[in-house]
Symmetry: C5
Subunit: 304 residues, 5 copies
């Protein structure tokens, strides 16, 4: 353990209201891997087996059926943290003791009959597995949103008291939100803001489009220039307490390498803290994935 | 800390059934700022980011994206307290240690599919953040009203035991209440009375119109003169235990300066305890907002 | 504190299964005021502000907006107890320390969208306010009845363990019960019996009419003479464990003085334990109310 | 307290997994009254006031309005136990300290709008009243069945830990079960089996008819001879862990004396452990009821 | 107790995140009976009385009405564990102290009006009965699935803390899953994967058909050869953390002996850990069942 860099010291100051344990958990993530100390982060999340099923997630790269594969990939690629549901962490936690784990504690699946998720794990699970954060998905706009907020309220309070960090995936959907609206700039910014307001330390949203969904919000966006992704990322950061919360972005389904790199450049350019990138890594052969992750990490290191 | 003024001593006597901790929390609010000791209060609430989204709330005055902006404004303007959701207090509480904070612990949003709110924070959150009160919104008339009352019952009991005060925003809506009825005099007075009955120390309602909504209530209002706002405010005060509860009023959306000042004069004239004023301050440039708040405070100081 | 009268000793023996604390709480009510020691009681309840709104309840007699007015009235009239929701007791409990208070811990209101009530206060609230009983309303016949029974089960168990008494207002309504049926003799007797079975120490019902509502019950009532109110009261008493529970009756909305007195004579004549009388007192000027209450108390003292 | 008879020792061995306290509670019931030590039991249940109302239950024999009447009847008739809701035990428990009481802790009523019951009392209530068992009704087939099972799971676990016994009334109804099916042999046997599987020590069902309700079950019953009640009782016993659970039967509404005696002979003949008999006793004059109970007890004593 | 075999040591390493108590509970199952130490298991489950009723389950072999029959059969056949609902274990646990018991803690029945199960027992029940695991059924696809996951989350966390193992029966049904889909390969594999992700130590699924149910999954299965059961079993194992979870399979309703043996050969051939076999044993005469189980055990011993 070396001294904190000024970047990390600055970030930890944003969380002055948290106890030393929670700040240490954030520091563990921020100091891990190749980006350790830079204030940038790349996180590997693997919950697609829950969301889409194992074969759709892993058949294309069979070694990925083994939970240990992912955490080894995250370690070898020099990433900051690994996020996964309970069973996967139970199975793989011994692979790299001390590597930052985020216990993704709610999940949906392909057969869900409501826009909701089931809470699958607890703060006590995270503590016994040595995880440093709880991960939780909310669906702003869905009928279940209020219930989800009340679930994460309980989990977050318990997590913060136990010295864990709280990571919220904020995915707008349902209710009056259109399909295009799910990634609209105003909707994404609002979703990120609500995650911050309910107490997330780290917020995860999808990269926003330039669509403005809400009639009532159009005036507020009328004078802005939202033509580039970097500007849209910057707006999301602004909506997260003027940039005083860690925000990471995802690009969605597997896609071409170039667009993955462009995403990272846009996130860095807009002042975002990093990428959370799953299928684009583990659905590629290991060597390709490592090469891609090295390049992404390089973009954040160089800010370009 | 100086001796209590007679006005504050009188107000605290209304809360003789509370423990010394809760009375001290009320005293902290009542003794804070330029109006400290007068028995009048001006409170800055910032939960519009939750209710309407960040851009609609703050784009007009970008420094307001930063939670610290608001608490600094409240301190500099010499207000009595700052009310906000969990994340905002977590982010800004270190700005002015000791300044009275109200943890607004439930919130709705633009996409709510029911007339309800999610409980987003707890008494333990308030205690660790050094807040002196829990803020909670109820919707008299809505299907969710009974559930909301049972939520605040639990929060209020825990808060009072922990030496915190309880502030209830009482906003009639839903069910058989018409749009005009939401600010009708009889409805507002009834909503304020119920907040008092369920144990609020401080009650917040909107300034009432002269409309009488309920057929059954018309007789009771038939002989009164409700032509001026001050008289209507006085009636609301009467319905809050004959004036033995602190009641603050809001005027709603951003509007002209003059009408904001007139609101304050009417509140003071009717014996109300003060204003709770959000968008009309933080949606103006900082200098304008400070000037406006200085004038409002002056109205309460001079009772005119 | 003087020795218990034979009447009170006899009544307390009905509650032999309760702990000394609960029996002492019952004794406090039974020994209070002009009827202290007689085994008869007159109770002042003020929850109409919750049920009907403040103006409809108090505008006719403005001093009644102040919670202290009511408890002072109850003390001066020499009544046995005062029943009210949380906030009213919080505001007025210091007026007459030691006067028996019943914390009415659930309430409905004019805008309720279901036939139910919200639980607004707890046993801990009663204990910190020095109250000696919890008051709770059930709606036999309503969809919410089972839930209400389970709510009062929890409250009653906690109250009895803490040495408090339990008062149940049993108001049939909803489901298959007709409007006339709500005060039918068979329905009232059944409602009172269920209150006894779920563990009430004191049962409050409305004075029953001679209507028999249930087809299945008609045979059981066929041979009885239900022509006088006193006989109907006697039947309700019989249905409350052969008279081994304290039962008080109300007459409903404000009405002529004579009928109020006749109610008391009928209650006394049928062996009921007394009156619970709200609007008929506080909606009259104070002097009139005191005169009326003196006369009612006199009826119970003289049993005529 | 005399030594256990071989019969009781044998029965208690069926409950080897229970703690000594629970076995002692079962022993208290089995050793009580004229049938004490024989392994046969007759239990008096009085919850008809809750289910049907007081007048329909007791008007035909007015002394029965007094809870003490029933427990005195049970003692004088030399029965094994008395089962009743909370209030009735609270009122009557002092009549015969030590007589085995079963706290019937859920109840329905004539106005129920769903096929369910409300939980009206707790294990703590049973303990403070000196009861030795919790009684609970389930409705196999009803929409509420799963909820009921989860309610009795919690109550049973707490009861067993506290040294109490668990008595389950298993009454099929609702869903796809026809009226005739409610007492069909297959349905009754299934209902009794489920009560055993969820952990009842004592199971109460109605005497089964020779009707087979379920299409899927007809094959399993095709080769049996179900022409006599004794054979049907024997099948129910077989379905209760091959006779290793105490099972008692009821015959339903008031009926002729002869058929009551025949029921007892059939129960004894089929190996059942006894009768649970309410309305047939307390709706007859006391002397008649005592004579009838003496004769029933005699049938079990003589096994004929 | 002898030293662990390499096979068992290997399996226990998969559960490195569990406490020694839970690993010991798994070891108790893995070391029991004729297959002890081989890493293969045969488990006897008897919950058909709950699911289908007692007569349909046991009339064909009447000794099976007695819970002791089954555990004696499991012991004599040299199986690894016995799984049953609460009452059956309460009744039979004294038969073979120390034999591994799995408390099946939720159940449905023939009259269920929703696709769900009732939770019938607790971890405390398992502990007092000396069981070494909790068994729980989930219905992926059903409306109740999220609730079921949250139920098993609480039970599993408590079980793991208490040193018990967790066995999940994963039975897809309901929602958009067709009847054929309930045993489709993709559905079965997904259902097994979700059981692993929510933290099961042992997973039980039905043997999969070669049907692919989900349109979205067809591509992932397009290149595979799913023509033999052994290959399909191998895929299910792969989907359970690349074979690092114990998975057992059932074949369903009673069927010919040959197909039962073929099932075992296919399970062993695909790398599955064993059979869970109920009706095919206890619905045959005891001697036949023992002979059949001996042969099944032999298949696993010889892997052929």
């Amino acid at each position: 353990m070396t001294a904190l860099t000024p970047q990390i010291r600055d970030i930890l100051n944003w969380y002055a209201s948290d106890n030393p344990g929670t700040r240490a958990s954030l520091a563990r993530i921020l100091n891990q891997g190749k980006l350790g100390g830079t204030g940038k982060v790349v996180i590997l999340p693997v919950d697609q087996g829950f969301e889409h099923g194992p074969a759709r997630s892993f058949a294309i790269n069979p070694p990925a059926y083994d939970p240990r594969y992912h955490i080894e990939l995250a370690v070898e690629a020099g990433l900051n943290a690994f996020a996964a549901p309970l069973g996967m962490l139970e199975c793989a936690s011994e692979v790299a003791p001390g590597f930052p784990l985020i216990l993704k504690c709610n999940s949906s699946n392909s057969w869900a009959t409501t826009k909701d998720q089931a809470v699958t794990a607890t703060v006590d699970d995270a503590l016994r597995l040595g995880a440093c954060a709880m991960g939780f998905t909310i669906y702003p706009g869905a009928d279940a949103f209020f219930d989800q907020v009340e679930e994460i309220r309980e989990i977050a309070q318990e997590a913060k008291a136990a010295g864990l960090a709280v990571v919220i995936w904020s995915y707008p959907r349902g209710g009056e939100i259109s399909k295009a609206g799910e990634t609209a700039l105003d909707v994404t910014a609002y979703a990120a803001h609500m995650a911050a307001l309910i107490g997330a330390h780290i917020i995860k949203v999808k990269l926003p489009s330039d669509h403005i969904e809400q009639e009532d919000a159009k005036k507020a966006y009328a004078d802005g220039d939202w033509s580039t992704m970097a500007k849209r990322v910057a707006h999301v950061m602004q909506c997260c307490f003027a940039g005083r919360r860690i925000v990471v972005f995802s690009g969605g389904a597997t896609k071409g390498e170039d667009s993955v790199y462009q995403d990272a450049r846009d996130i860095a350019g807009g002042g975002g803290h990093g990428s959370i990138i799953g299928r684009n890594t583990f659905q590629r052969p290991r060597a390709e994935a490592l090469a891609m992750l090295a390049k992404i990490v390089g973009i954040y290191e160089g800010q370009a």
